[in-house]
Symmetry: C2
DNA sequence: CTTTGCATGTCAGGACTTTGACATGAGTGA
DNA sequence: TCACTCATGTCAAAGTCCTGACATGCAAAG
């Protein structure tokens, strides 16, 4: 067994790419005053408004508690708004503010550039296959 | 733009798989009394002994400080050993103990099973291509 | 109607990780 | 020889995140 063997697993390379991606995103988002979890939260809200804290947490793969502090920070910055009282149940549906939408659009441009750079070695068909494979792998692990 | 668009990026699916993988590994390793970072550390040492703390940190994609506490915990558990004084420079080359090797082998079996389950939708050739693509993506992000 | 289960928001506490900083040792070039 | 650079280990402090727990509100089964 050579020294390379453990690094030659899909799991290890997955972690390596994810670490590099996270670092790249942190760097790019710093210019916008955002952290990566904050950006993910804005992105989720940009695609579907009225998401609750718990739904956002699942979408960002963090706990409700972690998303809660992210949400509070975004609210203090005036980027999102939540009703002070729940319209139904306990869920507080969150929305982007106007400045939140503007910041999201600006930040998204930089993040998309990173995504394109990361996948610049793949053509569109390959990228599509890769994404399908990744989706399948998630499902295989969750069952 | 539909609500699915942001989730349909390679970056998002990457994070999703990595989260599922981390959860699966945490669950499997708990039976061995190990955390995922601890296992990664043991695995790196199993393939190449005499690695320094800084080298292990880079291999596990964490900071030196984080790896340092991992190493101290492993040392307390008698799974690794470090010289109290540096043979050259400041680096303290770490080695697995006999019980560390035994635990690594037992834990590795479970982790490999997870890796196989994750990639069970791919044949050997596809898995190889996937790993090569991931390696390339890391390099594109780091440059 | 009651009760049971389930999901949500929230609090407290602890564990883990990082940022920033500093001193030490090795190698390099002037 | 000497200053400079680089990498390493280590300390302090802060931030981040999670585990565990609890109360509230809705829905479904009894």
């Amino acid at each position: 067994m050579t020294q390379e063997d453990a690094r030659r697993t899909v799991g290890y390379q997955l972690k390596r790419v994810q670490a590099a991606l996270r670092a790249a995103m942190d760097g790019a988002l710093r210019a916008h005053g955002l952290t990566t979890p904050q950006y993910v939260c804005l992105e989720l809200l940009g695609q579907q408004a009225r998401l609750s804290n718990a739904e956002l947490a699942r979408g960002a793969f963090v706990t409700r508690q972690s998303m809660n502090v992210v949400l509070h920070n975004l609210e203090e910055a005036g980027l999102v708004e939540r009703p002070s009282t729940a319209p139904t149940g306990r869920a507080l549906p969150t929305r982007l503010t106007a400045s939140g939408e503007r910041l999201l659009e600006a930040a998204r441009a930089d993040v998309m550039a990173i995504e394109r750079r990361m996948t610049s070695g793949l053509d569109r068909a390959q990228a599509q296959i890769l994404m399908t494979q990744l989706e399948h792998m998630s499902e295989l692990l969750s069952e």
